[in-house]
């Protein structure tokens, strides 16, 4: 219990540090780290993450349409409420945890064990400024961008598939979709993605900077803890978001009943 409290407190302190020291991003070495992180999490992962995400999103829609025997209206609502608001941000977050969360935790744990963190301190550089701030911001931004890609392809794929399965034209589907969708849906999912990404970054950095030991065995342990806790945090944040925005922990039922 004390361990859980310590980890929670450590992660919160790290998040506060990122907010307090946001300005260090304008320093050239930190800006380079940010660009590197965005490239690694966002650009270099785009193809694999978007394809996997879009496949999962489209598959969910295919099952839902089949099981619920959906018409155009229900299929579009599913695309909007399930894929755009929920599945898109979640899939992107889970894939970013798998790829970048593990990479960041492993890299930082290795740096700690090999004495590079101590080297930074001896250069009068705060490791949290140089390593944590750009990674958290980079993962948050890249996760948001990936979410938009996943949503775009998953919704597009879902529409094409729905149009084929329920015998409706693509134009009819798209028309219904844009009638129901509002810019707030996009803002909601992007705000969620930003928060998911920041949480993943903070947790991965926390476990990377605090590996459970000084031997090389501590590195995979740090990565496993980062993945487990980041997944849990994303799920909890998702529930909190749904509760705060819709006033009901059972998000989906509330809007579906309208």
């Amino acid at each position: 219990m004390i361990g859980v409290y310590r980890e929670l407190e450590g992660s919160m302190r790290l998040a506060a540090h990122v907010l307090r020291r946001f300005w260090v991003l304008k320093l050239p070495p930190v800006a380079e780290e940010l660009a590197r992180q965005i490239y690694f999490t966002g650009a270099s992962a785009t193809a694999t993450i978007v394809i996997r995400g879009a496949l999962v999103g489209t598959l969910i829609i295919a099952y839902v349409i089949e099981v619920l025997n959906a018409d155009v209206n229900l299929a579009v609502k599913m695309l909007l409420w399930v894929v755009l608001r929920e599945i898109g941000p979640l899939i992107a977050a889970v894939l970013v945890i798998q790829r970048s969360g593990t990479a960041v935790a492993t890299e930082l744990a290795l740096m700690k064990i090999s004495g590079e963190i101590a080297s930074l301190r001896r250069l009068r550089i705060d490791p949290q400024d140089f390593l944590v701030v750009p990674r958290v911001v980079g993962i948050a931004l890249a996760n948001t961008a990936l979410t938009v890609y996943v949503q775009f392809i998953a919704v597009g794929g879902g529409m094409v598939l729905s149009a084929l399965v329920i015998d409706a034209s693509l134009g009819e589907m798209a028309g219904s979709f844009f009638l129901l969708a509002s810019p707030l849906d996009l803002v909601y999912s992007m705000a969620k993605s930003l928060l998911f990404g920041a949480a993943i970054g903070v947790i991965a950095c926390y476990y990377g900077l605090n590996p459970p030991g000084d031997s090389i065995n501590a590195v995979p342990k740090a990565a496993i803890s980062a993945v487990t806790q980041a997944t849990l945090a994303v799920m909890l944040l998702n529930i909190m978001f749904a509760y705060l925005v819709y006033g009901s922990a059972l998000f989906g039922l509330f809007t579906a009943l309208q």
Partner: protein, 207 residues
């Protein structure tokens, strides 16, 4: 007990029984070698000098200042004048040579980054390195000598008044050791008022 003025580095244990063996008193200016520094004492000395905090076990003087009487502001100012040069260069593994060398300046004096390249090239070539190649490589692609040299150049750019260097010759061949021996002289030529203190390793008696 000597006066602190004119002292670059002083470390004097407060316990009577430790005073003989653990005392270190180095005058400001020039190059100095502290022979046979064990790992434990090296760690104590480095944390005393680099943290500059009051210590219960010893009186510590750095660049003429008693470290137990420093305000946080004075401590930060003094710390900016001290550099540590680890035996392996202390490079960061995911940064290439140039990024490693420019890293401290990027944090502490970004305005100097512009126009830095000629200075870095000159220093690297002075010690026989192919600057263009070294600057583009990651530490894992460098030889030990190149890592030491990159760390040295990075240290020089900070223009410290006191340099604490680990045994720079360790792990090198004869030719490279000769070049590394010139590190202190080149630093002092550039910074005549500086002090270069090399902490020599305890001789290996196993073989």
């Amino acid at each position: 007990m000597s006066a602190a003025a004119g002292v670059a580095l002083g470390y004097e244990p407060l316990a009577e029984e430790d005073r003989g063996a653990g005392r270190l008193w180095i005058a400001a200016g020039g190059s100095h070698v502290v022979p046979a520094v064990g790992a434990a004492f090296k760690n104590v000395l480095l944390s005393a000098v680099l943290e500059l905090r009051p210590r219960k076990e010893a009186r510590v003087v750095v660049l003429g200042a008693e470290t137990d009487a420093l305000s946080p502001r004075a401590r930060a100012g003094l710390r900016a004048q001290i550099a540590f040069l680890p035996a392996n260069g202390g490079l960061i593994s995911h940064l290439n040579g140039w990024e490693n060398i420019a890293l401290p300046l990027g944090f502490h004096d970004p305005a100097r980054l512009r126009g830095l390249a000629p200075e870095v090239y000159a220093m690297l070539e002075q010690f026989g390195a192919d600057a263009r190649s070294l600057l583009g490589r990651l530490p894992e692609q460098m030889t030990l000598y190149e890592k030491k040299l990159a760390g040295y150049v990075r240290m020089r750019l900070g223009r410290p008044r006191l340099v604490l260097a680990e045994d720079a010759g360790a792990g090198l061949g004869a030719g490279e050791r000769g070049r590394v021996a010139g590190f202190a002289a080149a630093y002092l030529a550039d910074c005549p008022e500086g002090t270069f203190v090399q902490l020599a390793d305890v001789p290996d008696e196993s073989g």
